[in-house]
């Protein structure tokens, strides 16, 4: 029954915004012994439980090859919640969550393992009242994904709903992403598939939409007429943190560029959606991705870090990391000049960069406006363009660089920043991205998830870049840890000036 007809029949609903509480369900986490479950998923579930946002009838099943009992798994998750959750530990909340938590040791590849999982899920239906509703969280390596999806599809029942959260990486190129989309589509509808990109769950990323579409002053100047160029940075100061096996296969272009960075480009450049419905937002994002032209190889820079210093401590180069070979050609840095070939953005460069072991952790979108056409001051060399900075992390907020008169004689103008610090204004504590995204999945809201065609457009661009790279051997190592990447990346932007 739609909301409108319910409201017509129920006069008491007028003016009430009934809390969106998900329907009863079981969250089954495949790959539950991994770091993601410990650091993100369980702390997020706990925070949702603290806020009474989980359904009353709820259960969690952890599934992984690592041998654990339910008791051991629950104890490990309690420790994780104590360490990583944003809320203080409350025994009453945890005990309730823990009482509906189970663990099954299996790789799900054999019949007996699958049977055991199904039995566990059915048991929760019977005892926790979860009504056959299933939320499968697929936090498994890409190689395991097709088999898992196929098995889940073949074993789906007609009772209750099914939703899948698919963790990145979603494939490793366009062909494998298409293949995975096809397998998903053969068993599940698009409305049942939630491809997660946790950047979209970040409050500050969503705030970009608020900034653009809730403020009348920005949208009229958000185009090629007024914007000189856009710079988007996703910088990490950490290295590969023991994930050499994965990173050697992925590199910076698959790890960050294909997903987070291109999502930020899409959100920055998209047209205003007609509403905040999932399809409306994703339609506009995919139009931007389609409009991205393949970058000229001259304007793509890749890099790999060598030995250097982070916060005064010497750190090894990439090729010195455990498991990485001494002649590895995996890139740990990518920068590119992109163009969105449409009416709004024609000829406006989007400089994007991402890398590991950079000078600091920083995700920022910088919108650089065109200079004032004819400043009537003598000292115009010091005049700089206005820049709107959207700080995604850390120090979440927005800054606007403007010129202001220096007090005293004459007319000297200096650049100053007006800051809006997110945490300084809204002091309720920013929810973790996973809280929002897991809750949205339970509610069936796909607005902050990536659609099949979006993923394919992203991979299409990445494949073109990777194909160009295959034709020449990279000149690695070309930046020291603790710097802002190869000099050639900086030259990309300077060339523009």
């Amino acid at each position: 029954m739609d909301t409108q007809s319910v409201e017509t029949e129920n006069p008491l609903l007028e003016g009430l915004r009934l809390r969106r509480t998900p329907e009863p369900c079981v969250l089954a986490i495949f790959g539950a012994s991994g770091d993601l479950t410990r650091r993100k998923i369980f702390p997020a579930l706990y925070s949702l439980a603290v806020r009474k946002l989980l359904p009353e009838e709820f259960g969690v099943v952890g599934i992984a090859r690592t041998a654990h009992t339910t008791e051991e798994f629950v104890a490990a998750m309690e420790a994780a919640v104590r360490e990583f959750a944003r809320d203080e530990f409350r025994s009453d909340v945890w005990d309730r969550l823990a009482s509906g938590t189970r663990y099954v040791t299996t790789d799900f590849a054999d019949e007996s393992g699958q049977d055991e999982v199904v039995m566990c899920l059915n048991d929760l239906d019977a005892h926790a009242g979860t009504r056959g509703n299933r939320l499968y969280y697929l936090a498994v390596p890409p190689t395991a994904m097709p088999t898992l999806v196929q098995e889940l599809g073949e074993r789906r029942t007609t009772t209750g709903w099914v939703r899948l959260i698919v963790e990145k990486p979603f494939g490793r190129d366009l062909a494998s992403a298409r293949e995975l989309n096809q397998i998903l589509a053969s068993h599940f509808t698009e409305a049942e598939v939630f491809r997660i990109d946790h950047y979209l769950g970040k409050e500050t990323v969503q705030n970009l939409l608020a900034l653009r579409f809730a403020n009348g002053i920005f949208e009229p100047i958000w185009n090629r007429q007024f914007i000189d160029h856009v710079q988007i940075t996703v910088a990490e100061s950490i290295g590969i943190e023991g994930r050499a096996g994965y990173y050697e296969q992925a590199g910076a272009i698959r790890d960050i560029f294909q997903n987070h960075l291109l999502q930020l480009v899409a959100l920055t450049a998209m047209e205003p959606p007609i509403d905040f419905d999932a399809e409306s937002v994703r339609n506009e994002k995919v139009k931007v991705l389609r409009a991205l032209s393949t970058p000229n190889p001259r304007f793509v820079v890749r890099g790999q870090y060598g030995r250097g210093f982070i916060e005064g401590v010497e750190v090894p180069g990439y090729r010195e990391e455990p498991v990485v070979t001494s002649d590895s050609t995996t890139e740990t840095f990518v920068a590119a000049r992109l163009f969105v070939d449409n009416w709004r953005w024609a000829d406006t460069p989007f400089y994007v960069r991402t890398g590991k072991r950079l000078a600091r952790r920083d995700t920022t979108i910088a919108i650089q406006f065109k200079r004032a056409p004819h400043p009537p001051f003598e000292d115009i060399d010091t005049l700089r363009s206005n820049v709107l900075f959207v700080h995604v992390q850390p120090n979440e907020g927005v800054s606007l660089a403007i010129g202001a008169k220096v007090p005293g004689e004459g007319m000297r103008v200096r650049n100053v920043h007006m800051d809006f610090l997110y945490g300084g204004t809204f002091r309720t504590g920013l929810p973790d991205a996973y809280e929002r995204l897991i809750l949205d999945t339970m509610l069936g809201d796909q607005t902050l998830f990536t659609r099949a065609d979006e993923i394919e457009e992203q991979w299409s661009l990445v494949d073109a870049v990777v194909a160009a790279w295959a034709r020449e051997r990279p000149n690695f190592l070309n930046y020291a840890a603790g710097t802002w990447g190869p000099a050639a990346a900086q030259e990309l932007v300077e060339w523009h000036r």
């Binding site: 008491l12 609903l13 003016g15 009934l18 800051d419 610090l421 945490g423 300084g424 204004t425």
Partner: protein
Amino acid sequence: MASVAIEGWADDCATIDEIEDALAELRLRVGRGGVPDLRTSVLTHMAWVPAEWQAAATETLAGLGEQHPSRTLLFFPEPEEGNRLAATVFLECHPLEGDARQLCNEVVELRLGGPRAEAPASIATPLLLPDLPVFLRWRGRPPFRTNEFTQMIAIADRLIVDSAEWPDVPGAYAELEDFFEAAAFSDIAWRRTLPWREALAQRWPERPDRIAGPPAETALLAGWLQSRAGVEVAREHADELAYDDHLAASVLLSEELNVFGRDAVYEAAAQAAARL
């Protein structure tokens, strides 16, 4: 996180200019670690606090500025005192996690002696933050027909009351409705009934025949059922609400500071409650 009060300036015989100078002085103050404190304001928050409500008001307001960075103007009417304006200006600062800066809110306590208690708007108006909404929390039963009430409501965008603090509900709602056009209203007693209203809405068309709870909340619920669905219910007194999310007064007030427009459902409920 615990807040820190930073003393500014106080005078038993103050002028608006002096108060503004004191606020400007505090703005230039160098904060922790030699960096200026952070100022962000989302509203001006005024509170009219008669003597008998001072202790409760102080408790409710503690920490509110952390959730809603604002300039807070506290008015303490003292009509029995001599003609004077006494002011205390200070900052309430909250440490920011991972940042040397503190988030500071300006608090101005104003004691309006003698006839000044009847002309508060002329004191409040120059101290309002420009272009931000003005919320007025009126502690206790508002004296609806007085100068001070009509003046203050004229400069406020939203009036927040708690009709549970009124001794004469439901009759008092009849006076309230005369002001619905003048300002948007929030009634904390109405907010307290929210879980109960949600439960009744979810059970519709099941209809209760009696409700039990404190007088203001039951009157508003009965008025709501009457105005929305034509359902008449008997009211009984009880100390507790049947459905209650047990939120502290400061949290309830904090939630009302996020509400801006008129609440037509509340207005109809209060009007119906007045006729019970």
